[in-house]
């Protein structure tokens, strides 16, 4: 076992391994490392906005713009994607009963593109914002930062295409013949869905990045209005990739909850079929709503209506997931250990964020919310509230199996309360800030706008609570992986029954005998 301290292996053996669990650990640890790095940037941003007009911590807007850009890019592409891929790597081959990923070397290559892409993003520290709208990113963004951003994103995009190919082939072709696709566990289904989505969505953005690069070099003018191009074309290409990408971030977290909630409810899942159906529906409908990011770019009425319907159409499928979770918990005997707490907290916040999303899809409300802190609050509520909670739940769930030791339930509780409280306080307050009209991505605001100042200060205090809870998380991950009590590996939470998937992942080199 890789990180198991009784039988340690030299670190290079893990690093140069192509085994799916090893690559999975690398992905997960890289993802968590970037989470804490980007979290520090978030703390800087929030602390800075506590004091309007004083330039605390960040004394110029150029640096501030770079900080929020790198914060966003890191959280999305260096935390959310790698952690999903990491847990996917550890569990998906086991869930489909295959010895490894379909292409182990490709898997390792796809992982090792992440640190490279991450280094380019962090060393460049571009100021294009994560959406990098043309023509700013073409005619005004300073190089070489913006060019490094393009190459970094390019590498991360290729990495995510490669790992998606791997997941699709693993699930569809390497699945055990006795296991019908309908009975494949829902977490593996979520990875299959998001991998197919990535394969459809990501090449569009990859093309847009190349076009942006040649535009920057002056060789072409696809998106440059001063060379005959059209910035709106960039927006379409960008959102065609990145609205589906929202579901690509979200579905693995939902899949993780499907692993955790029945386990801690000591009860079968309410309905496998409706989970599969909802995943596939979201995977398809996710492509029908990208235009709702562009209502205000001069879109005509009919197009807006089409995209509004496309957006609303995704809601029943999301609702089916929530229903499935609640129905699973109904009549159960739930042990609220840390993974279950985070999973249930995640569902509650998923619903809140989803309700905000329905409001966003209403065309006239775009006048109020678009480009304000409402959007910041909404999308962070999804990313922290659902995806973050799902991932953290899964990290606690895998912790005994990865380290052979038990985390402290007491400190996990502190983390949970801090994270839930902090998430609600920051991101709900940011919704209100948006209603007060505060634009996103601003370095400073006039101190005489007292409502902005007050709400920002409330949000910042929430962010500090959230940050402190993550400090607890980091400290307990490190401390209890070295000093924690040895875990009862058969049943770490005393739930009764066998934990097939993580137990099999525990012993990667000995094959698994869970079946």
């Amino acid at each position: 076992m890789v990180l198991e301290l009784q039988k340690p292996r030299p670190v290079w053996q893990i690093m140069f391994s192509t085994h799916h669990t090893d690559v999975g650990y690398l992905y997960t640890i890289t993802g968590l490392t970037f989470l804490f790095m980007a979290g520090v940037l978030a703390m800087i941003i929030r602390t800075h906005l506590f004091f309007p007009g004083e330039g605390v911590l960040v004394s110029d807007s150029a640096t501030f713009n770079r900080i929020f850009t790198v914060h966003g890019l890191t959280m999305l592409f260096l935390f959310a994607l790698p952690v999903a891929n990491g847990i996917g790597n550890i569990l998906v081959p086991i869930m489909v009963r295959y010895k490894d990923m379909a292409y182990p070397k490709l898997n390792a290559i796809a992982f090792w593109m992440n640190p490279v892409g991450g280094a380019l993003l962090w060393l460049g520290f571009a100021d294009v914002s994560w959406v990098s709208y043309a023509p700013y990113s073409i005619i005004r963004a300073p190089g070489p930062a913006a060019d490094m951003f393009i190459f970094g994103m390019k590498i991360l995009g290729i990495s995510s295409i490669l790992s998606s190919i791997n997941f699709v082939v693993t699930v569809l072709k390497c699945k055990h013949p006795d296991l019908s696709l309908r009975r494949v566990p829902l977490f593996a289904w979520s990875m299959l869905t998001v991998s197919l989505m990535t394969l459809i969505a990501m090449p569009t953005y990859a093309a847009a990045l190349i076009m942006m690069l040649t535009d920057r070099l002056g060789l072409s003018g696809f998106f440059n209005p001063f060379a005959g191009g059209d910035p709106i074309a960039y927006l379409h290409l960008f959102w065609f990739t990145f609205h589906p990408e929202v579901y690509i971030f979200l579905l693995p977290a939902i899949g993780m909850m499907y692993e955790i909630i029945p386990r801690f409810s000591r009860k079968p899942l309410y309905s496998q079929a409706s989970g599969v159906f909802a995943f596939v529906m979201l995977g398809i409908i996710g492509f029908a709503s990208w235009g709702h990011h562009m209502y205000s770019t001069g879109m005509d009425f009919t197009t807006k209506v089409v995209f509004m319907i496309g957006t609303l159409a995704a809601v029943p499928a999301s609702g089916m997931h929530v229903f499935n979770f609640l129905a699973t918990m109904w009549g159960a005997r739930i042990r609220f250990a840390a993974p279950m707490k985070f999973a249930v907290g995640g569902i509650a916040l998923f619903f809140s964020a989803g309700a905000g999303g329905v409001l966003n899809s209403a065309m006239p409300l775009d006048f109020i919310s678009h480009g304000t802190y409402w959007v910041v609050g909404h999308m962070h509520l999804f990313l922290t509230g659902t995806i973050g909670f799902g991932f953290v739940a899964m990290v606690y769930y895998m912790f005994p199996y990865i380290t052979g030791r038990m985390y402290s339930e007491k400190w996990a509780n502190v983390h949970f309360i801090g994270m839930f409280w902090g998430t609600v306080q920051v991101f709900f307050t940011q919704h209100l800030l948006g209603l007060e009209g505060m634009p996103r991505r601003i370095y400073d605001y006039p101190p005489e706008f007292t409502s902005w100042t007050q709400l920002n200060q409330i949000a910042t205090v929430g962010a500090w609570i959230l940050g402190a809870s993550f400090a607890v998380f980091l400290a307990s991950l490190i401390y209890y992986s070295a000093k924690g009590k040895p875990a009862n590996m058969d049943d770490p939470w005393g739930l009764g029954g066998k934990y097939y998937y993580p137990v099999a992942a525990k012993n990667p080199h000995g094959g698994h005998s869970g079946y």
């Binding site: 739930i334 609220f336 249930v344 006048f367 097939y500």
Partner: protein, 110 residues
């Protein structure tokens, strides 16, 4: 099992009907708003900001109604089905299985 699941269904349907009634009330609210806006605004132009903000408040009313039902259900679920609840002393009928999560409702239920 049969009777409990019927009860569950009844509860769910009741909750759903409450939601529908609440939504019907919301549209009444809309009507009242529109009348107010008409009385107040005798000018010839549409009051754009009033229209948009009224829509916003109607939508938030709907969102909070549904939200209250869903999160209420959830809080109740968490309180009622926690293992420390005295009513939950008896193991569920799946717990004798090798893996409770691998059970099914059909085979074990009757």
């Amino acid at each position: 099992m049969k009777s409990t699941s019927k009860q569950q269904m009844k509860t769910l349907i009741a909750v759903s009907i409450i939601a529908l009634v609440a939504l019907a009330l919301v549209s009444q609210l809309h009507f009242a708003y529109a009348q107010l806006a008409q009385q107040e605004n005798t000018k010839q132009y549409l009051n754009l900001r009033a229209e948009v903000w009224n829509l916003f408040f109607r939508m938030t009313t709907a969102a909070f109604t549904v939200g209250a039902i869903v999160s209420g259900t959830m809080i109740w679920l968490v309180w009622r089905f926690r293992e420390s609840n005295p009513k939950n002393k008896a193991p569920t009928k799946w717990e004798h299985l090798e893996d409770p999560t691998a059970g099914s409702y059909e085979e074990e239920g009757h």
